[in-house]
């Protein structure tokens, strides 16, 4: 089968990309999703807080997904659920498998990679102690509770203060569990301030910053106690600061990893800092006609930005098929002081219409500060911020007129506290 566009993954990124490619005139579009239904991670995020930018109202995850799924209804976009993509090749063959038709090789003119993230596990952060039942990643506990209808424990400690952990602290409390503590190794929270307030403070759940889990004990195969210790500036536990918690469940909310096996398999150039593909201004990867968007490129905290970025990818995929272009020379975006990564990493200035949106994260908490964009020693523009934290993605817009004046091969973005 030959398709104009195959979208891998039917979460918010894949849905927005397919929609916008359709709007730009592509007709033969296929979304391949391994789950039973479209919507991705949003299906288990039953809390509200989605769509404030996009729809100017506060939707729950399933409602946000529903709006995009509805948009597909009157289009010719085809959907294959319960189907796993196994391989994407450099020449855009997409190998898929499902129980109905077995192994199939599909051919596309353009591909959008939108596989999202998976959660970091205990293995990935090496916690000492026993390996009993009762240790879950926060996201799997969320799926058990919100979709499958299983309560994973009664006395809970959460390691990591990312948004998923915070949301689960509230959710487990509402469902009758006692959440004893949320423990964070860094001196600041990894989640949004509003979630600290409405998920922890509302329910008097203590947040221990600069602390970590240093032991796990079990009784009859189930978690029975955990030990939490304070950590120093080197993030190593300080002896003598141990606290014991009597609990049956430990939830890990220790970060997400973009799910890029397919991307690497295709031989696409990767960014070590985002763990995602290196992308151009239109979300194109190092293989022409293969685009990537959403959490598979970099971890987003807000789905609204996922949709925005993915619409760009979908439109560019349509353009690639309908109006092929020569590849122009690209400018590199470099991470200066205080910046941990930028997306995109490369920019072809002639392809920018009015302005270039750059997403980035900072390395540490900054108070009042200035973000500067430099071409060598020349300042081309700067932006003021009152407060920035690594947990909150930042966005700046660089006008095309300024980019046209750049003479060097790279732009450096950096932060300076005022």
């Amino acid at each position: 089968m030959l398709y104009d566009l195959i979208v891998v993954g039917g979460g918010p990124a894949g849905l927005a990309a397919a929609n916008s490619a359709y709007e730009k005139g592509l007709r033969s579009i296929l979304i391949v999703e391994r789950d039973k239904e479209l919507g991705g991670i949003l299906n288990q995020c039953i809390h509200n807080g989605f769509g404030l930018h996009r729809f100017k109202e506060e939707l729950t995850g399933p409602e946000y997904a529903h709006r995009f799924i509805e948009m597909l209804k009157d289009t010719s976009v085809q959907v294959m659920c319960d189907t796993m993509v196994l391989t994407v090749t450099e020449n855009k063959e997409v190998h898929v498998i499902n129980t109905e038709k077995g192994y199939q090789v599909l051919q596309a003119k353009a591909v959008v990679l939108a596989m999202g993230c998976r959660e970091r596990t205990r293995g990935a952060i090496a916690i000492p102690g026993a390996r009993p039942a009762g240790v879950f990643t926060a996201g799997s506990a969320q799926r058990y509770l919100n979709m499958e209808g299983y309560m994973v424990g009664k006395r809970v400690v959460i390691l990591g203060s990312g948004d998923i952990g915070l949301i689960m602290a509230r959710r487990m409390t509402l469902e009758g569990a006692k959440v004893l503590a949320c423990v964070e190794v860094m001196p600041y929270s990894g989640g949004l301030m509003r979630n600290i307030v409405q998920c922890l403070q509302d329910y008097d759940i203590p947040l221990y910053l600069s602390h970590t889990v240093t032991d796990i004990q079990q009784k009859d195969g189930r978690l029975s106690h955990i030990t939490v210790s304070k950590v120093g500036d080197d993030r190593l536990p300080i002896p003598g600061t141990e606290m014991e918690f009597d609990c049956d469940t430990l939830l890990l909310s220790v970060g997400l990893i973009p799910e890029n096996e397919l991307t690497r398999g295709a031989g696409i150039d990767m960014d070590m800092r985002t763990n995602g593909a290196i992308v151009y201004e239109n979300m194109e990867t190092s293989i022409p006609g293969v685009f990537a968007c959403g959490n598979v490129v970099h971890v987003h905290d807000l789905v609204d930005y996922v949709s925005q970025e993915s619409e760009k990818a979908g439109a560019a995929a349509a353009d690639f098929v309908l109006h092929p272009k020569e590849n122009e020379h690209a400018l590199r975006l470099q991470n200066g002081f205080g910046i941990s990564y930028t997306v995109p990493q490369q920019v072809r200035v002639p392809r920018i219409e009015k302005s270039l949106e750059v997403f980035f994260r900072v390395r540490q908490v900054f108070g009042e500060s200035v973000i500067s964009v430099k071409d060598g020693e020349n300042l081309i523009c700067s932006f003021k911020r009152e407060y920035m934290a690594p947990g909150e993605m930042q966005q700046i817009k660089l006008p095309r007129v300024l980019l046209d004046k750049v003479s060097g091969a790279a732009l450096t973005i950096s932060v300076k506290e005022a």
């Binding site: 239904e37 039953i46 807080g49 404030l52 529903h66 919100n146 979709m147 509003r194 807000l302």
Partner: protein, 114 residues
Amino acid sequence: MKELVCIVCPKGCRLHVDEENGYLVTGNSCLRGAEYGKNEILNPTRVLTSTVKMEGGLYRRCPVKTNKAIPKGKLFDVMQALNAVTLSAPVTVGQVVIENVCGTGADVIATKAL
């Protein structure tokens, strides 16, 4: 003077609410923050999201929410009320699950088609 973080949007503005000055709010970037700051002192409210039992759908739980914010003190009463509900497929987005739940004036509605 009370210090609060506005939770209306992800920006998380740091608010100061002056109780002695008609609950004057400062530090907000928009009007919704001013309203939130005052309410949070006088009558704090939250939208509740949860799930109810589901029969015949793709999953065993159907997600629901209150269609407006309800007093914080009522959250656990509403959770109790939700325990008594079982929905059967088909369910549509926005379908009313419990009307005027616990006398709050808010309805509990389904947030997913199942």
